[in-house]
């Protein structure tokens, strides 16, 4: 690791890198959270405003029971899967960026 530099003026320790890092991570997390929260908070609202549709029977279940009791779980797995794949790719990209940034500063 290139940290012989005690006063930390290389790229990895710069404000710019940290800012960039946190913003990209937060954006990914917030996007995934939004997809999840829309369904999570949307379902009670649907129950509230369109109860007739949500009470329709699908194979014996009411529609709302089927969504909450069964379908919700696979939906969350998909979001988690997407998040994990993206965030690992993001880490790779950040390592790359840090290396490039350090090179540039030295030059």
């Amino acid at each position: 690791m290139a940290h012989q530099n005690p006063d930390h003026d290389d790229f990895i320790h710069s404000e710019e890198f940290l800012h960039h890092l946190m913003r990209r991570q937060l954006r990914l997390s917030v996007a995934c959270a939004a997809a999840f929260l829309i369904l999570l908070f949307g379902l009670p609202l649907a129950n509230y405003f369109v109860p007739d549709i949500m009470a329709q029977r699908v194979g014996g279940f009411t529609l709302t029971w089927l969504i909450l009791g069964v379908l919700f779980f696979p939906f969350v797995w998909i979001i988690a899967r997407i998040f994990i794949t993206r965030s690992m790719a993001l880490e790779e990209a950040e390592v790359q960026l840090a290396a490039e940034g350090n090179e540039k500063r030295k030059a």
């Binding site: 690791m1 940290l18 908070f41 129950n47 949500m54 029971w65 797995w77």
Partner: protein
Amino acid sequence: MPEAASFDYWILTFSAITVIVTIWMGFRSAKTSKSASDFFVAGRSVSVGWNASAISGEYLSAASFMGIAGMVMLSGYDALWYPVCYACGYLFLLLFIAGPLRRFGAYTIPDFAEGRYDSPVFRKIAVCFVLFIGFFYTMPQMKGAGTTLAYIFPGLPYWVGVAVVGAVITLNVALGGMKGITLVQAVQYWIKMFAISVPIFVLLSVYGGYGKNLSLNGSAADIASPPAIVQTVEPSTPQRLALPEKAPADEAWISPFGPLTTKAATAAGLSPEESKPLSLLYTFSLIVALVCGTAGLPHILVRFYTNPDGVAAKKTTMWVMILIGVFYVFPPVFGVLGRNFLPELYAATGSKGPDKVVLELPILIREKYGILGSILSGITCAGAFAAFMSTFSGLLVSMTSALAHDVYGRMLRPQSTPAQRMNMFKWCAILIGGVSVILGALVEPLEINFMVGQAFAIAAASYFPLLFMSVWWRGMTMKGAATGMLTGGLCALFSATLVNASTLALDKGPMGKLFAGFSGMNDFWRAHPLLRILAEQPAIWSVPLAIGLMIVVSKATKKTVPQDIRMKMLVLHAPEKLGLKQEYIEEHQGMGH
């Protein structure tokens, strides 16, 4: 009928095997865990598969195994929010907290609190909530234990079951430590999964499918246009039994905003139109509590540190979500079947009420299939044992570590030797186990699942804001974090306790007498249904309160933001490959820490 069916050897055998295997594994691995760091965080060498099973095993408590089924039976649709949010809370943990915390590399939440703010004082404040949340979470586990033992040994008083199970687990933890627990937890996940799914498949093949059983509960929409399914019921499907008076009506049970969320409004005599917005508020508050609370559970976060690196931590979380998600499909099915075929439970309360539906339902097929009914009931009892034993062990380890590691090792006797601390660990385990048994004996009249929900609400208002804000906002100061966490958490703790005390005052048994002083509260709740809902489900106001206070106080004390905040944030967010963590540690040592 259940009273007459005295003692069943099959049920006893399966339960005994679970208990013996658990204890045997604990003792066996106690031999291999010698050093103090082994004892606290399992030597940090656990593979993804084992760790995911262990986290799931620890997480699926008596609430998941017994409580959800009981609550679905009692309250219908509204209770489904619990299993869904228990599973989805993990997503929140994954999205915002798991990665950064793992990179920062502290053993526990108090470790993180100290490291993030360079403040040993804050550690002492933060450690309190390990105990608060822990005790709230152990109460329902103890009720699960008392209920199960009272079912296996008809006539055994509830509190004896609580005391016996509490003593066995406490001894196991005092001697085994966490290394034993990881292995035991992982095995217990698979016991629970087997025990909840196999009986369901058998029961559904006897009584007809999940959907068919739900369709026996007509809603208002169905009466207008009767669904075709009901007429074409196969002749082999048994008819549902008549519901007793105490059971909620079909329409209220199967529709959203049913008995659980309208209880306060109904008690206040509001009309259905007036009570519906209150029910919506109740539902939202419940969701906030469960989703945010998962991230703040002290015994779950510790496990992220047992992963070798951040990628493994993320993979572990993915597997945990799959393992617990699959599990949570099953308990509501027990609730639905219980409503149709075991309605006499509605008439009973305490440890004889719906909370035991999972244990008792398989017995019903004994008439037709003889011994198979007993075996299946034995299997669900074994699962229940695995459930409360694993969660209680995990909580006991977290709470005991907090007491032995923090309160004793850092506050009372900082100069104590490792041997003294190991010894203290054992005494603390016994102390906390004892308090848990006493608390557990008090709560028989309360629903298992409801109590766990309260523990989540307290976690949501204390640790969740602390972790979330500390990870993502560099402007946080120690004073801001402490003010927010203490105010939010204590408000939630206070309202949950008040609601429980006033519910216990309604009990007709001995608890009613003990808590009679609180019966006046119930008149107040009847006059103020909105306040009752806000006290019963405090997350919707206490979480924003905690976060708001953190922001305001931190802004006011801007000067005390830690000096090396940029470095701390880098350690939290930069990929581990860059090696910043190592550098950070060296720097801190250089500064004389």
